[in-house]
């Protein structure tokens, strides 16, 4: 599909700015491919890496029969009312990314889902990395500045093949009246690596998600990193889950949550179904203004030889930390912002520099608002 530049240019400068906040690079300078959906219309798909395809879901299902085996397998269609809503659509929309055997791209593919005028946006995305493939996705989800109310229902299924690696970085930039219900899951085979990063620093009415990584092959690795700010009026119910279903699998769930008045529920669940498995949950929360941070880490072991741990802490910035920096000449406001910036700085191992920079930029931009 050709770039429909006219569609992109219809967006107001403010909307384009908001899209940029999610990491969307309209000029494609550091992207290897793109998928852009406004409301229910796919306006652009492209990919310039051999062995990697980016297709609207309808076209992909027509092209590849085998893809049927990857539809509603990681995420059950009757999981809840949101998945059922997406499943009963006659014209499903969304993106399918297929990284064929051995293909690799260090530059990320970008998928952008923009809520412009319709009350509900539904998407069904499927990402397949076949044996030995490596892909990085950056999904920016945003709504128009004019959009006061609306909902985004997004189902994303990841299939990470043998020794394949998928990094998915999702940056959200919604409005205070938007509700968001992503439903994602990954099935990771032997030696596969699934890294999922989520950043939401801007106001939103409600986000509810609990993505799961099923580590079904030996030595598969899953890691979820979540960086969120709960602004007044926002209700973020976020979790991540890893099922350690094969020997040698390991998972780490890391969350940094800040509330400036909103509610953040930070869930985490690691299930050790087999021996020789490891998992760790780390949740740190900062309450800057009265709000709620409710950390619910769960570790569940079922076999000898599974090692699971968690640490959770909710607190404030220590006065002596601020004064330490003030003694070096930083004023109180700068010292506080510097400490907050450090708190949010989760370095994600294995993440390409360009993606880490995208996350850092999203945090830097939000930091000015504290």
């Amino acid at each position: 599909m050709q770039t429909d530049v006219a569609e992109l240019e219809k967006l107001s400068p403010k909307d384009r700015e908001r899209l940029a906040l999610t990491g969307l690079d309209l000029e494609m300078k550091s992207r290897c491919g793109s998928f852009f959906q406004i409301d229910q219309d796919v306006v652009h798909t492209s990919c310039n890496v051999r062995g990697i395809e980016v297709l609207p879901i309808g076209a992909a299902l027509e092209k590849y029969d085998w893809l049927q085996d990857h539809v509603w397998k990681a995420v059950p269609r009757d999981k809840d009312r949101y998945t059922r809503y997406v499943a009963r659509q006659e014209k499903p929309q969304g993106v399918v990314v297929i990284a064929h055997e051995g293909s690799a791209s260090v530059m990320p593919l970008q998928a952008c889902l923009f809520l412009l005028a319709e009350p509900v946006q539904h998407v069904h995305n499927i990402v397949v990395a076949r044996e030995g493939a490596e892909i990085h996705l950056i999904s920016g989800c945003a709504s128009s500045v004019q959009m006061e109310h609306g909902a985004h229902l997004g189902v994303t299924e990841f299939y990470v093949g043998k020794n394949a690696k998928v990094t998915s970085t999702m940056i959200h930039s919604w409005s205070a009246g938007i509700s968001v219900f992503p439903r994602s899951a990954a099935i990771v085979e032997e030696g596969g690596v699934f890294l999922s990063n989520y950043v939401c620093m801007r106001p939103v009415r409600r986000i509810e998600m609990y993505p799961t990584a099923h580590l079904v092959g030996k030595n598969a690795v899953g890691r979820f990193s979540t960086i969120v700010v709960g602004t007044p009026g926002s209700h973020l119910d976020l979790g991540s889950r890893a099922v350690l279903a094969a020997e040698g699998t390991s998972a780490e769930l890391v969350t940094r949550a800040i509330t400036t008045g909103g509610t953040i529920i930070s869930r985490g669940h690691i299930l050790g179904e087999t021996g020789s498995t490891r998992g760790h949950i780390e949740c740190k929360g900062l309450i800057l203004k009265d709000g709620i941070i409710h950390a619910i880490p769960e570790i569940e072991g079922r076999r000898t030889g599974t090692e699971l741990s968690h640490e959770a802490a909710v607190g404030k910035i220590a006065r002596h930390e601020i004064e330490y920096l003030m003694a070096r000449g930083l004023d109180e406001e700068t010292a506080t912002a510097t400490i907050i910036r450090g708190f949010l700085d989760v370095k994600i191992s294995g993440l390409p520099v360009v993606l880490q920079k995208q996350i850092d930029d999203a945090i830097d931009k939000a930091e000015k608002g504290f």
Binding site: E321, E323, L330, T338, I339
Partner: protein, 243 residues
Amino acid sequence: MLDISDLHVSVDGKEVLHDVDLHIGEGETHVLMGPNGSGKSTLLKAVMGFGGYCVTSGSIVYKGREITHLPVHERAHLGIGIMFQRPPSIAGLKLGKLLAAASHMSEDAIEALAQSVNMEDLLNRDLNVGFSGGEIKRSEILQLKAQQPEFVMLDEPESGVDLENMALMGKAIAHLLEKDAHIVERHRSGLIITHTGYILDYLDADQGHVMIDGRIRCHGNPREILKVVKEGGYKECLRCKQM
């Protein structure tokens, strides 16, 4: 440079420092000794202006300006620096970034400064996170070198430092206090808390003070005071004062 007069300081509503007078001239280095819990660190923190150290009466005047109630960062801007004994760890904040923020030096200049004192390995590490005792001291020294304070307070610079690093530390502190400059060219002043006096092997101090129970009991030659304390303990200072 620093004139402390009739200073009373309370911590958690309890008076810890009573009627402290201390005068440190330009280019002078003073040493503060005294038993644990006598109020030495409290004095340094009160001079820096940290919260929780409440000046109930008296004044702190720095270079002719009353600073008793100034916020911490303004005192830092005026040229007061402090080396922390146990600084907090700040995850996610690289030492190099703090140096840049504290000094407005370029990245290259910071790199060069760190190299000059053999500390470039610390620049990309999170501030004090997992630092050894020696690394904390080196990091503190590096921060002060970037900050270039005219009046520097050091709280037990030799604690937790092995012998090998002691020489490095001692020389770096001597350099901060312009000990290598001719006496008439020397403008920087310092106040150093020491228990062992090891630091005196690397720099000459002009005056020594002994603090006991929140009061300065004795002024004199730092080496002589140290000798008396080593032989007879601080009770000797009490006895001597009472005579």
